[in-house]
């Protein structure tokens, strides 16, 4: 290793990229670090500013829930905003007062966020007493044994990832013990200028190692690796000293940007490359920043919530850069002024390093839990942005193996679907591509923009899908409600009808049918009532029972008519129980079958007749007539039978009325049958006359079998036609009669 490194050191002045051979991930850049600016200074004492600004939103996720009122006195470590109930989902951590004082104001203040948006913040006016609630978290000082215990402490202590992303640490830790086999400590502070982790490792190595050991114990990890960049020899020494005799292994890694990125350092330490879209936890790895481990140690051992952090205040514009344990909420400008700015601070300060940091909109923004550096670099004349020359430098520098140039072109032309396909969400926004770009294209800005656009597109798609679902559900609901309403109205009507029917039953004669009426369900009763009413109608019509009409209440009458109509409908459609449609249909079918059988018989008789007549020369003329007559007779018979069958139905419905009913219907039947027979006969005659024209020749050949067969066939066909007509009529009879009657009665 050392020999190889020496060779590369020799080559690097001629070919700087040779340094890339020394580490395992792709790309990377070697910027000017300028860490000496602040790392040479001792850590300065904490200052208590004039006011502390505590934004309710400290990190990703939702803002915390306010717990204090204006004018209230708070002590150091007191809870001033808590995480909401479903903290897991909302990714909220509580906020504690960094020092004692009075709540001066709760108002909107500019956030230390690239957007420069304002949000609700608690303003504490410190009383400089620094009254402290000791062991606020009420811990025993014992290391927790299960991940859940550790998570509870971390949540209550308000600890978030202090490397920069600010993801709540409790949310990062898995619930199952033993899932994490390798715990990693990130001491590779790769951003230029920033030295707070370096100094933390130098001064609080013990706390970091203990914090890591506590976490490893709770999670059941057997291996703890700590990666520190080679440009921090003092820190490596201190850490090695603290880690002696523990399971923590200190590994020196190459100084390259972005070595401190989680995926890159993981690859360097373990050789495992993180799969696309997977979290480190999924493959049994967990990495945390040194500062996070230090605060875990303090929370678990002393019950101290996270209220301060080490911050580098540095930059080319400051005469005396320094590191300081800063209270969360201290305004940037106050700290920068302590470092004796070379010129007036009329330029925006940068939160974070020069590679990934962002200029704040207002220098009064406060330090939050993720602020590791306040950078005061006087503005340089902006480099002229030039068109892309497709040199491919960005591709060589990308530590995630993406295609920055492609992504740039598509982002530039707003083809966001294509950008997404190029795995833009794997981009860690490290800024290597922008750093190496000879055309000074702010590539990362394009990717950030594209990412937010893509996120918005996806959010919109989801919203559209939701709107669609809700609209469809609404339509379904309206439909269902309509049906329910109709059903309700129907049920109501039925109930009224039932009443009316029973009333009319009472008025009309004394038909003792209480058992059926009582036993049958509402619908059945109604149908029965309707049938009865219909039957009654015919009865009244035929026998002129006027007294019935007079006695029947008008309302009852109307109901009866409606019922009759419904019954007619139901008889046609055929549903539901009692003496109703189904049975009617069955009976009708039976009747039809009977008719068919009879028709066949009749046809057979006719056949013989026809045969006979065909042999007889003289009867030839008469023959069709005879056939017609026979057919008509058969039809009439069938008809009568169908009627009878029907009558039988109504008989079952109302036994007392059958006889009269049948006589009534018989009359009508006879009439109809006559009409039918006449029509059939007419038809036959027509056919016969046609036949006659054809026949003369064959008259003489009496033994012609062909002709005979033909005639029989014709006769059969005619019979069948007659049969069909009869059947149809039979089917319609019930409804027709009912309707007819009800109309008449009306």
């Amino acid at each position: 290793m050392s020999f190889f490194a020496k060779i590369i050191e020799k080559i690097s002045p001629i070919y700087p990229q040779a340094k890339r051979w020394l580490y395992s991930f792709h790309g990377g850049v070697f910027p000017q670090y300028r860490k000496e600016l602040s790392s040479r200074q001792p850590i300065r004492d904490t200052i208590i500013p004039e006011r502390l600004i505590m934004p309710l939103q400290q990190q990703v996720g939702q803002p915390a829930e306010l717990l204090v009122k204006v004018g209230e006195k708070v002590k150091k470590n007191q809870l001033i905003a808590r995480s909401s109930k479903d903290a897991k989902k909302a990714l909220v951590v509580p906020i504690h007062a960094p020092t004692s004082g009075v709540i001066q104001e709760i108002a909107s203040y500019t956030l230390p966020h690239p957007s420069g948006l304002e949000d609700i913040a608690i303003i504490i006016k410190p009383d400089h007493q620094n009254d402290c609630l000791d062991n606020f978290l009420k811990v025993s000082g014992e290391a927790p044994n299960t991940p859940q215990q550790l998570k509870d402490v971390l949540l209550n202590a308000g600890i978030v990832g202090m490397g920069g992303a600010g993801f709540p640490t409790y949310a990062k830790i898995p619930n199952e013990q033993g899932k994490i086999h390798t715990l990693m400590i990130n001491g590779a502070e790769c951003e230029p200028f920033i030295t707070c982790d370096d100094l933390l490792m130098q001064t609080e190595a013990e706390a970091i190692i203990q914090g890591a050991l506590i976490t490893a114990k709770a999670l059941g990890s057997t291996k703890v690796l700590c990666g520190i960049e080679s440009n921090k020899p003092t820190a490596i020494k201190a850490m090695n000293k603290a880690a002696k005799g523990t399971i923590v292994e200190i590994i020196q890694v190459q100084t390259v940007y972005p070595m401190g990125a989680q995926k890159q350092l993981t690859k360097e330490l373990t050789g495992i490359e993180m799969p696309h879209k997977a979290h480190a936890v999924d493959i049994g790895l967990l990495m945390m920043n040194v500062a996070t481990f230090a605060s875990i140690y303090k929370a678990v051992t002393f019950g101290e919530p996270l209220t301060s952090r080490l911050v580098s205040v540095t930059g080319l514009g400051l005469a005396k850069p320094f590191n300081m344990r800063v209270l969360i909420g201290t305004p940037f400008e106050e700290l920068a002024n302590l470092a004796e700015p070379k010129s007036k601070l009329d330029y925006p300060l940068v939160m974070g390093g020069p590679m990934m940091g962002f200029a704040v909109q207002n220098n009064q923004v406060p330090v939050i839990k993720t602020t590791n550096c306040i950078l005061a670099n006087p503005p340089e004349p902006a480099e002229m942005q030039m068109p892309c020359i497709r040199c491919g430098e960005c591709m060589d520098a990308c530590p995630v193996n993406l295609l920055p140039q492609q992504m740039y072109w598509y982002s530039h032309s707003h083809e966001f679907d294509k950008v997404e396909k190029l795995n833009i969400f794997d981009c860690i926004e490290c800024g290597c591509c922008s750093y190496v770009c000879p055309s000074h294209i702010p590539l990362v800005q394009y990717y950030r923009h594209a990412k937010s656009e893509i996120k918005e597109i996806h959010a919109e798609e989801k919203a559209v899908e939701l709107a669609k679902q809700r609209h469809e559900f609404r339509l379904a609901r309206i439909e269902r409600e309509k049906q329910e309403r109709e059903a309700r109205i129907k049920a109501k009507k039925d109930a009224v009808k039932k009443q009316a029917a029973s009333a009319s039953k009472d008025t009309s004669k004394n038909k003792p049918k209480p058992s059926a009426a009582a036993a049958a369900a509402a619908a059945a009763a109604k149908v029965a009532a309707a049938k009865r009413a219909a039957g009654k109608n015919t009865l009244m019509q035929n026998t002129a029972h006027t007294e019935n009409k007079q006695t029947a209440m008008p309302a009852a009458r109307r109901k009866a008519i409606e019922a009759a109509k419904q019954a007619a409908n139901q008889a046609n459609s055929g549903d539901k129980p009692a003496k109703s449609p189904k049975e009617v249909a069955k009976n009708a079918a039976m009747a039809a079958a009977k008719k068919r059988a009879q028709a066949k018989k009749a046809a057979a008789a006719n056949d013989t007749e026809l045969n006979k007549s065909s042999t007889d020369n003289t009867t030839v003329k008469k023959d069709p007539k005879q056939a017609a007559k026979a057919a008509a007779m058969a039809a009439a018979k069938k008809h009568a039978q169908a009627k009878k069958a029907q009558q039988a139905n109504s008989q079952t419905l109302d036994l007392t009325e059958t006889t009269k009913d049948s006589t009534a219907s018989k009359k009508e039947d006879a009439r109809k049958a006559a009409i039918q027979a006449a029509s059939v006969a007419a038809k036959k005659r027509r056919v016969a006359s046609e036949n006659k024209e054809n026949e003369p020749k064959t008259e003489t050949s009496t033994t012609d079998k062909k002709q005979k067969a033909m005639q029989t066939a014709k006769a059969n066909a005619m019979k069948k036609a007659a049969e069909r007509g009869a059947k149809k009529r039979a089917n319609h009879q019930v409804s027709e009669q009912a309707q007819h009657n009800s109309e008449e009665r009306n």
């Binding site: 966020h113 957007s115 949000d119 002229m384 942005q385 923009h449 669609k468 809700r470």
Partner: protein, 189 residues
């Protein structure tokens, strides 16, 4: 000759049977054109096209019974997409939304609300919560901003407000490109 006939009749039968089977087995429910149009429509269910929702409009388009330029929230872009799917002639939008109007949602002034439930009935996505003679409110996440509830309110207590910007929905701005356009060739020499 005969063999050829037999072979081809056989093949015809075979394919016929196969196609018949396939048409039964892989029957497409609904109109796929309507489905694909429905997908690109903005689903505000605003009814500005004259149809009671996005789906009915999509179905009408699939049956070529509607013009392609009726979707006002979708604007020109959606019109072009529709004409691509249906193969109908693209038509200029007759009514256009005010240029680049940010997405708005309805807010009920809860002090003025009389609890008439008129807006609840009007809302196509059931995003308004309330009951008779009780104050109503809008579930912001569900509101599509169709503005259907605004005219029906008898006390005029519904306002359309743009969604407030927070760090959660803030977007990184696109890099300023004026620098590129200013970089004239030869300027650096």
């Amino acid at each position: 000759m005969l063999e050829a006939l037999i072979i081809f009749i056989g093949l015809a039968l075979l394919f016929g049977l196969f196609l018949g089977y396939a048409s039964v087995r892989f029957k497409v429910e609904g109109n796929p054109v309507a489905e694909s149009i429905d997908k690109i429509l903005p689903q505000t269910q605003c009814g500005q096209c004259g149809y009671p929702g996005c789906k009915p409009y999509a179905e009408a388009l699939a049956d070529e019974e509607a013009e392609v330029n009726l979707c006002i929230p979708g604007g020109h872009e959606v019109m072009i997409q529709i004409s691509e799917i249906t193969g109908l002639e693209p038509k200029e939008m007759e009514v256009t939304e005010e240029a680049e109007k940010p997405k708005e949602t309805a807010y009920i002034n809860e002090d003025l609300c009389i609890g008439c439930v008129l807006c609840i009935k009007e809302c196509p996505v059931d995003a308004i919560l309330g009951a008779t003679k009780l104050m109503h409110t809008v579930i912001q996440q569900e509101c599509t901003g169709c503005e259907k509830c605004v005219p029906v309110c008898p006390v005029d207590c519904i306002d359309m407000k743009p969604i407030p910007l927070s760090t959660r929905n803030w977007k990184w701005p696109e890099p300023d490109e004026t620098l590129i356009s200013e970089a004239k060739p030869g300027k650096n020499h």
